[in-house]
Subunit: 456 residues, 2 copies
């Protein structure tokens, strides 16, 4: 006998949790489609040679390689032919380059699939997890107007997921680089300084200040003041965001370009009707410095900052330089849904969902089977999800089962009801019960279900 168990670092759900998870996936997909993004799925296995062009040693250690039985043990032949994707960005780059001539640009795609990382297993860290990505890829160029559409999608997704107030935080790499260069901080040093500034919350201002003034950095007090002030800029509301941008003073060409683009994004978000509480400047965020080149986004739940960013991304200059000579600039974001779901559940913000089953057609004794089957099919034809109780059991057992499973309605038809041409409906949610003429049963249940949906 083998102990049945899953590997460490994966998330497997019981049905009612799976339903809750699936509803989040459906909401995200629906919202991505609402904004005109097209579905793409790629194979979970890519050729190692293709997948690993871009990644450094750090990522490579986390890659899962795939070998069929026959190929095992032939370890001396270099890397195995196949590997599991570790994100959806490299497969997108490969996909766009491979199908370049068949796609229309700007190419707007969404992709919601699992990715794999050979991480050390620990609580809340996943080796297999869903990513839900959107990207817009231009050919040769891509208007910065697309940069403003992305936060509108983020806002719509999280409004519809209804997991609480959130803020989409905006920064801009050109603004950041321009500002740093204005202070005489260039190249690699920018990265190092940003890393230190990122520790402000944890280490406190004094400790960070000391590091920046010390060996390796050697920055003057005035420069440090400016850096700290800059990285602490946060805005509250639309007008404040514009004002805070102005208040940064003047800068070089790169800085002004970044500022103009951020300004345009803010104006476009307003035109899109995105509530001004949903977006804000946060000049401390940087994200993958070697990858993003324009606007960057992070999204946090206002009441749960400790969860960190739940949706991040930004603008990049060239998606697929390893695979094609075409220049493919893009902008996109990613939601790590497995981790988000896990954390929402830990925080008590999502619970097991009601069943996908709307109605249980009960069976009180075997003579009722034929009728129960026909009735179930009638309800299904009207669009209701129906489970038929195929074996007669005590009513109490059937009600108990429905209740535990999260099924709202139980339909009964005993001899008495049959004689009078009615059915009894038990509404387990409201703890109520009513009789309906059989001919009106379908309509009555549909109305109840619609009311339930309208109430959310």
């Amino acid at each position: 006998m083998i102990k049945p168990r899953t590997p460490a670092g994966v998330m497997e759900l019981l049905p009612r949790d799976q339903i809750a998870f699936q509803r989040m996936l459906d909401t995200i997909r629906q919202t991505f489609e609402r904004f005109g993004f097209l579905p793409v799925e790629t194979p979970v296995m890519e050729l190692s040679e293709v997948l690993l062009t871009k990644t450094g040693g750090e990522t490579e250690r986390q890659v899962y390689f795939v070998q069929s039985t026959g190929a095992l043990g032939r370890a001396d032949e270099g890397l195995p032919e196949l590997a599991l994707r570790f994100d959806l960005t490299v497969p997108l780059a490969r996909y766009v380059a491979e199908h370049e001539r068949e796609l229309a640009f700007p190419f707007r795609r969404y992709q919601m699939q699992r990715v794999y990382r050979g991480e050390r297993a620990q609580r809340g860290r996943f080796r297999e997890f869903y990513q839900c990505d959107i990207d817009v890829i231009g050919k040769d160029s891509l208007s910065s107007r697309f940069d403003a559409e992305i936060p509108a999608v983020i806002a719509a997704v999280f409004e519809r997921l209804a997991i609480g107030a959130f803020t989409i935080q905006l920064n801009h790499r050109k603004l950041l680089r321009g500002y740093f260069e204005g202070l005489g901080i260039a190249g690699e040093m920018q990265l190092l300084v940003l890393r230190e500034l990122d520790k402000l919350d944890k280490r406190g201002a004094d400790a960070v200040r000391e590091t920046l003034a010390g060996e390796g950095f050697g920055l003057g007090a005035e420069v440090i003041d400016k850096l700290m002030a800059f990285s602490q800029v946060r805005s509250h509301g639309h007008a404040d965001a514009l004002a805070k941008l102005e208040a940064l003073g003047s800068g070089g060409a790169l800085f002004e370009e970044g500022r103009a683009e951020l300004r345009a994004i803010l104006e476009q978000l307003k035109a899109l009707g995105v509530d001004e509480s949903r977006y804000a400047l946060n000049l401390s965020i940087a994200r993958g410095l070697d990858y993003y080149t324009g606007v960057v986004y992070e999204t946090t739940l206002d009441a749960w900052p400790q969860i960190g960013s739940i949706c991040s991304g930004g603008r990049y200059d060239n998606l697929a330089g390893h695979y094609t000579k075409s220049k493919l600039p893009g902008v996109g974001i990613s939601i790590g849904l497995t981790r988000l779901f896990y954390q929402l559940r830990e925080a008590g913000l999502v619970a097991a969902a009601d069943s996908t089953v709307d109605v249980l057609v009960a069976l009180l004794d075997d003579s009722g089977l034929e009728h129960a089957l026909a009735l179930s099919q009638r309800l299904r034809a009207a669009g209701l999800n129906v489970e038929t109780q195929l074996e007669a059991r005590k009513l109490a057992k059937q009600l108990q089962y429905a209740d535990k499973a999260g099924i709202r309605f139980v339909v009964l038809r005993g001899e008495d009801e049959a004689a009078r041409g009615v059915a009894t409906v038990k509404d387990l949610r409201r703890g109520a019960q009513f009789e309906v003429p059989e001919a009106e049963l379908t309509a009555a249940l549909l109305v109840e279900r619609e009311q339930q949906r309208a109430l959310g």
Copy 2:
């Protein structure tokens, strides 16, 4: 520069094909839920030790093992810890055994995920493919009434997929075994005889007859006649199915048990209102002889028999004997959707779908941007999928783009329209164009879309 390409043996689709595929997945999922099945997803990676208990050498050779970089080259340590699932049945067995105490039985689950086989790549063979499975698992016992519900689900799925007339073919392992035993053919020999009978179409009656009479089998002419007659039984319509069952003559206890169960299944299919053209006896089908123990199903497209079975399954005695002492009998089926989609496309039965995007909001010049953004959001709020043209281009280009992408409606608002408070809608499907007051635009498009959907 690396050539961007996918590994052999995977199916990757362009967006309009992906939309068609996704619609099939959605239809199948919706139908599974309509019949009260609950969603389950399991990780793509299982522990090798857990996954490979059940499989013989044949399957094992086709398994993909997974190793992170650090573990590569340690080939002498036996099998790698992780492997990719090769079907959804073993993961179901593991899932049910692992969560046995948290699940309600009979447990009705559906699962639609990708599985992996390390097959030699050849045209139409896939190393990665979707399976769409349903199973009902009982604890200790499971009424044979569930056996009749499964073909009703199959019928509903393929009616809604609308890929042509189909027949669900029924046989029963007890009927088969009982009949063979009545002819003095027992144990292993049944399997060998069935294999020969399976070649009837290919080899012809004379050749099969010769083999069964020859060395190794040594069956008499009368026995061979009976075997061939039995395996050629096909029914047409409900009454004929019952009559053909009667016409088999009498047999032993096992044979009669199988016949009684088949009869009950036929009666229940009638009570469920399944059209009698959708199901038939086919006493030649056997399927996984060591696994199935009761009814077996195969489904074929009437006009495309060469595609083979598109949905198969049956009843089994014990799902998870390797993982738990509980007896878990079940019944289920599987649709290999990747292969089916591939074959339907080859046969010209599915085509690239229209876009998920309902409306393209055109942009004639930059001054219209703010209005286009607000209008797009209004249409989205009403439930329409909208792409906004963010960069002004010639109208002809925008129409051409929408047409190629399969977007039906293009909404325009030039200076003239703006002055009069109207918008122009171009319906690319019908090649028509009409003007609507702006305030009525949302309603007009919703009505058009509903009409389109109603027409399928």
